[in-house]
Symmetry: C2
Subunit: 401 residues, 2 copies
């Protein structure tokens, strides 16, 4: 990491740490701990993959049981997935130790793992890591934690917003790691959203679902869905606001901030997709139905031919429309249009003129915006993806099991 | 092309040619003509992409009308897709000229185009090419035609079988071009299957559907679905057999040969996928339903993480099961197993031991076989894919629009 991120504030009542437990080489931080001094109402979403890692199963169970969470232990390098009964025992052992050291109930601790599938956790290192992480917990630990959850990411991802809720000054802070296996419907990454606002559990769940819909469910790096990834939203109420139990103005403010943070993090994940050099937004307008808009946008975002063309700064709009054509969405080539970087490249089969040189330039920037008009209705959607580069092949062709 | 393929026999009554019309650089052949001296009963399948190229629309219409085909003109370099009304006119002009020169009805000629989307056909070159191709038609032209239909392919693809049908010696010959945008449900490539057997139209359609199901619908290179691609099966009856109108033994022999040819060509297309270094077969056994078996196998075949791991000769079976996990198929990690190159790598979460070195060796070969056992039923399926390499990025990041 070339430039260290500056100090990252945590909301009231939260501590964090990031340490080196010996899982990664080169003394890089590889375990993180997020902690709330008070039991936090917690909402979460877990991978939709039917092959779920032991920690993901544990998280799912805890969330279903309505756990008031106080700590999340995160380790990288090893996913503790497809590790059988041993994997489940290992996750429980980690939880037990953290609960004991922090003096909180077993049910208040979650574990998350990310990394290689199918290899048992190196438990002596993990348990040693938990001890270290507990000792280093601090209100200043956000930056260390942000770094410790990374895998093939090239920069830490966090975003924070102050909030003014019910006369109280509060914070919403988000941490994320992504990079590979990024695809919607949860299974996308690890995300920790911490706030000191008090929100009832049903509304917290609803807010998270709503914010996820326009952020983490609208990004794709490679279409692969991980066995491990999870999004957690912890609300410990330490700011002292009157608990939000209805969809009042406080709730609206909270949801807006949550959406912003989630979109920030989602975009950062895509920008840092494995091997990515560009962040690409794909907007579909004029679709017949919202489902069509989503399908068309996601089909373009997933197309390896589109993603390699963008890597090569090639204004290959034909590949964009071809991807819309097989998306399942209704499309009429005589009504469709394609705009890249503000330039109209295709307009219903009528002749349009544009400068290849100018387009090459636009496609060489770090952000590329593609807008597809379908001219069939009023529905629209937007998704984010990155380009597909030799860097992706390099990282994934050589990643050690 | 390093080694020229040897002479490729055509069935009785067929002629072919491949010429350089000036579309490709370097004097490479870029237009082909397949011709039957007698009107041939023809079955075909056309891309499922809703954005269909002008020639694909024309083919679809002709096949629906039950056209007796005598000629197919193929050009590369330009797909004549998303070219509006002009594109449709250009396709018709090409058909008209070929029909006139060959002295056959307009309805007996099909055109196929493959290449860049959204650029009008260079008609003077195309029409000049048709003239050249007609002049060079010969019974020995199969090899030239096989080469002329290629785009980013690195070798010509054909396969032939002699048949003994109703006391007559007959042939079934197949030509294909593939490489990119290869994904099932038609839209996969251009394929020409020529036979001198006489088969009724309904049975010819059924035979093609059946053979396609286990071949061209079971391969994927990059998941992209082209706007152009088509499979044609022409049967001109020149061998003199009694026309096949029922599912008798002759029909069975014919279908078996057709399946073999189609699988041959399908595998050749995958082996020659853009940038591919390996042909990978993925077999799923013990699935709950046939649909599950298909979904699981195709999900593994499409996973960029699996495909890059195979490129890197990394026995990363965890990625294989993760892809099964998000396929939609029922899976139980405690009943599943993964076998790569004959070696059991995962068995329901129980410990198995295997040599990483031996596996590296196996994965370095040109053929890789992956077998996933689900242990939940009796359904099975098999699909073919290739590895994902820097070659793919190279080809598609730099392919000129």
């Amino acid at each position: 990491m070339k430039t260290k991120p500056s100090f990252l504030p945590l909301p009231l009542g939260y501590l964090a740490s990031g340490i080196h437990a010996g899982l990664k080489k080169n003394h890089k931080p590889d375990m993180a701990l997020f902690c709330s001094k008070f039991p936090a109402t917690t909402a979460g979403l877990v991978t939709t993959n039917k092959v779920k890692a032991a920690p993901a199963k544990h998280t799912e169970k805890a969330l279903k049981a309505g756990a008031k969470v106080q700590a999340v232990v995160v380790n990288t390098k090893n996913a503790n997935a497809l590790t059988g009964k041993q994997g489940e025992k290992d996750a429980q052992k980690t939880v037990s130790l953290a609960a004991k050291l922090l003096n909180v109930p077993f049910s208040a601790v979650l574990v998350h793992s990310t990394g290689v599938i199918g290899v048992p956790l190196p438990m002596p290192k993990i348990l040693g890591g938990v001890r270290q992480a507990v000792l280093k917990l601090s209100g200043m630990g956000g930056r260390d934690a942000a770094e410790a959850i990374l895998t093939t990411d090239t920069f830490p991802k966090y975003s924070a917003r102050p909030l003014w809720i019910g006369g109280k000054n509060a914070w919403l802070t988000g941490f994320a790691k992504g990079s590979g296996m990024i695809h919607p419907n949860m299974a996308t990454m690890l995300v920790y959203l911490l706030t000191d606002v008090a929100v009832s559990r049903p509304l917290l769940n609803e807010a998270l679902r709503e914010a996820t819909e326009t952020s983490f469910h609208r990004i794709t790096v490679d279409g692969d869905v991980s066995t491990n990834d999870s999004v957690l939203l912890m609300a410990n109420g330490a700011c002292g606001n009157k608990i939000i139990t209805t969809k009042n103005q406080d709730y609206q403010l909270f949801v807006e901030a949550l959406k912003e943070i989630c979109l920030d993090l989602a975009k950062a994940i895509v920008r840092d997709g494995e091997g990515a050099t560009k962040l690409v937004s794909i907007t579909v307008k004029g679709a017949k139905t919202p489902r069509d808009a989503y399908l068309a946008a996601m089909s373009v975002a997933k197309s390896p031919l589109v993603k390699t063309a963008i890597f090569g700064a090639d204004p290959n709009w034909g590949r964009v429309l071809a991807a819309v054509g097989y998306s399942g969405a209704a499309v009429d080539e005589f009504k469709a249009s394609v705009v890249i970087g503000g330039y109209l490249l295709y307009n219903g089969g009528k002749k349009v003129s544009w400068s290849r040189e100018r387009l090459k330039q636009i496609l060489s920037e770090r952000n590329v915006d593609i807008v597809v008009g379908l001219g069939l209705g009023r529905a629209q959607d937007r998704v984010y993806t990155c380009d597909l580069t030799d860097g992706y092949i390099d990282i994934n062709g050589r990643y050690t099991t």
